[in-house]
Symmetry: C2
Subunit: 400 residues, 2 copies
């Protein structure tokens, strides 16, 4: 098709008066339906005494109940003794950790709010809500390019020589939004990182640790905590995870796993913050997810089809024109339209398809190549998703 | 009985090898049983679309769902538009508010961590966990004596002339631990307070707003928010409440109510912290507590007996010797043993009865009169409670 024909096609879509929002990685209704049983595993006839003899309806158990620690231990491969269970949001834990580092410092080091400058490493493209936290605290964010096997480790090893660099955001498996998984080599280099700042921490967000699409390959992630222990360096990493995209988004449980040393410091501070998190919901999740793998396969059956729809439309329309990711898990497809991302997103918008804003996956919303578009296939039904993908592909062809 | 006889009696109790913990205001098993229905009101067959058409299983609704806002609106008498719903702990909200004031300041004012000195007013005796938060943040706490109708307002009005005084802790109804309720006059003076610091806030913890004992008198608390609005002073107060002692401690929902101005600032900051709290639990509570008053009366039927047991033992043993409170609601009885509180608590401990540490109800754990003992009747069964009360009374008589 020539430009004129493309524009005619675009007008045809415009006349459909669509209103399709694919801006966020929200689970779809059918995924949520797979977790309805979660609401029945504990009811008024249940026993409320857990395996350690605790009445889960009452106050107490600041660090969470054992049943739930075991669930996260299975997910992360980290001992239950090194796990703390929180409320419904791992993002909230990360916020809380940075907030606490600002006001009280990390493990006895100077509170960051007393320092002139705090810097943070941000592999890009990355997760917008991570960057929003560091921006909110006035932390200077430094872009680190992502390779196929993880972030540029040479650059990271160089940057951590600066003592004002205090942390890094990582989504090490099925990365948000590129979908890549860090190689064993990259994980080992993280595990043996020796930053100049003693209070440097790796914020290792295993958001998609069990979120395989089962589409021909299952990525596996080396256990950073085990590797760090080999180097006597286990204080360097906080491993976050949650059930947000496993059961009900917003009504799940979240956890952090880290060294004994870190756990002790955190516990001591945590007791000023709360008397403990929702233990009933913790036990609910432990019961319901007793066969986590089969549950995740059912979710994958729904998600995989959606990733295939987007990929097949792009294959048909955009092959040889632009590149996009073909992940084996996670929630996103990254589409690269060098120099034209903003324009494509605006064109889609005018046709009733809302994508995440351009630059969303970069600190300060600046994608200097104006290239990256984050596609979230999960929430839409297949027909809408196909339509949206066609409009995206068409908009790319018009703008390029 | 003479001293020798008292000590003989004490030895008799000691030989029973008791292990009774009445140190914390935890709900009793029978109270918790009254909320079992909470676990059935939402199950796998429920509709998950709320009255505003929102699928409560998914992400979103940062400020909470309307059904739950209405519940807290009924509890606090404040419009639902002025209410934010959080997770399971109002203490956690208070922590979060102070933490945010440290790092970001209140409504655009200088972050407290950038100031040399922050001071806080603490009516005493008060709630230990309040004081733990301000101590944790290095805020200097100033004792304010409590009268029968609330804290000493003359002193408060004097102290707030100091711009480094940024807040006050209040439990205005059935106060922890004295059980008193602030008079209308005291509430009005709070509502019209004009502190020198623009970022001064009243932390108004309505922990026991519906926790009447129905023992002859129902205390009522003037609505501070309405009063403050009359004075165009509504930014001054944050009103906290929760269902922690209404349904399951630790698995409830918590809220804060405040001015539009404050709400807007908080919302803007909150969106960096989380995508929202547990909406399923919010709806569960809204459904289950549709007849809140009759639920609270059932709880009172359990609690009232326990308060009566303590009071009757003290009446029998301690009348004319020492004073104690006779509250109409809340969770605590305050016993005053001038100069001997620490000794009484230690003597009880040696007899197998654990009370809260002496000084617990004072900033920095310093009760300069060594007088106050906090009695928590709720958790124990009646027989144990009677025994414990007898041991306390006996210990008082021995020590005095």
């Amino acid at each position: 098709m020539n430009k004129e024909e493309l524009l005619k096609e675009y007008q045809r879509y415009q006349s459909m008066n669509l209103n399709i929002n694919m801006s966020r990685g929200k689970p779809n209704k059918h995924q949520l339906d797979l977790s309805l049983g979660l609401l029945d595993v504990i009811n008024s006839s249940s026993s409320f005494i857990n395996e350690n003899g605790i009445d889960i309806r009452n106050y107490g158990e600041l660090t969470g109940i054992d049943e739930c620690k075991k669930l996260f231990s299975k997910m992360t491969g980290i001992n239950k003794e090194n796990i703390l269970i929180y409320g419904n949001s791992s993002l909230n834990i990360m916020y809380d950790f940075i907030s606490r580092s600002m006001t009280h410092g990390v493990n006895g080091n100077t509170p960051w709010c007393k320092l002139d400058k705090i810097k943070w490493l941000c592999p890009v493209p990355g997760y917008d809500r991570h960057f929003a936290i560091t921006e909110y605290f006035g932390i200077e964010m430094i872009n680190i390019p992502m390779n196929e096997d993880g972030p540029d480790m040479d650059l990271i090893e160089e940057y951590v020589k600066d003592p004002s660099v205090k942390g890094i955001w990582c989504v090490p498996i099925y990365s948000n939004p590129t979908g890549i998984t860090y190689s064993d080599e990259v994980v080992r280099r993280f595990a043996s990182l020796k930053p100049s700042a003693k209070d440097f921490r790796i914020y290792w967000d295993e958001a998609y640790i069990v979120h395989h699409l089962y589409n021909g390959h299952i990525d596996s992630l080396l256990n950073i905590f085990t590797e760090a222990k080999k180097e006597h360096n286990e204080d360097i990493v906080y491993v976050f995870s949650s059930t947000s995209k496993i059961t009900f988004a917003g009504s799940g449980v979240a956890s952090v796993a880290t060294s004994n040393n870190n756990i002790n410091f955190i516990k001591n501070q945590l007791k000023c913050q709360t008397l403990g998190y929702d233990k009933i919901n913790q036990l609910r999740h432990a019961y319901f997810l007793s066969d986590l793998e089969s549950h995740m396969k059912k979710i994958a059956d729904i998600l995989r089809k959606k990733f295939e729809v987007v990929d097949s439309v792009f294959n048909k329309e955009l092959s040889g024109i632009v590149n996009w990711s073909k992940p084996h898990g996670g929630y996103f497809i990254s589409l690269y339209v060098p120099g034209k991302a903003k324009e494509v997103i605006e064109r889609c918008k005018k046709c009733g398809v809302t994508l995440t804003d351009s630059g969303c996956a970069y600190p300060y919303h600046i994608d200097k190549d104006n290239s990256h578009i984050r596609i979230a296939p999960s929430y839409l039904e297949v027909d809408e998703l196909r339509l949206a993908s066609e409009i995206i592909a068409l908009s790319v062809k018009i703008e390029l």
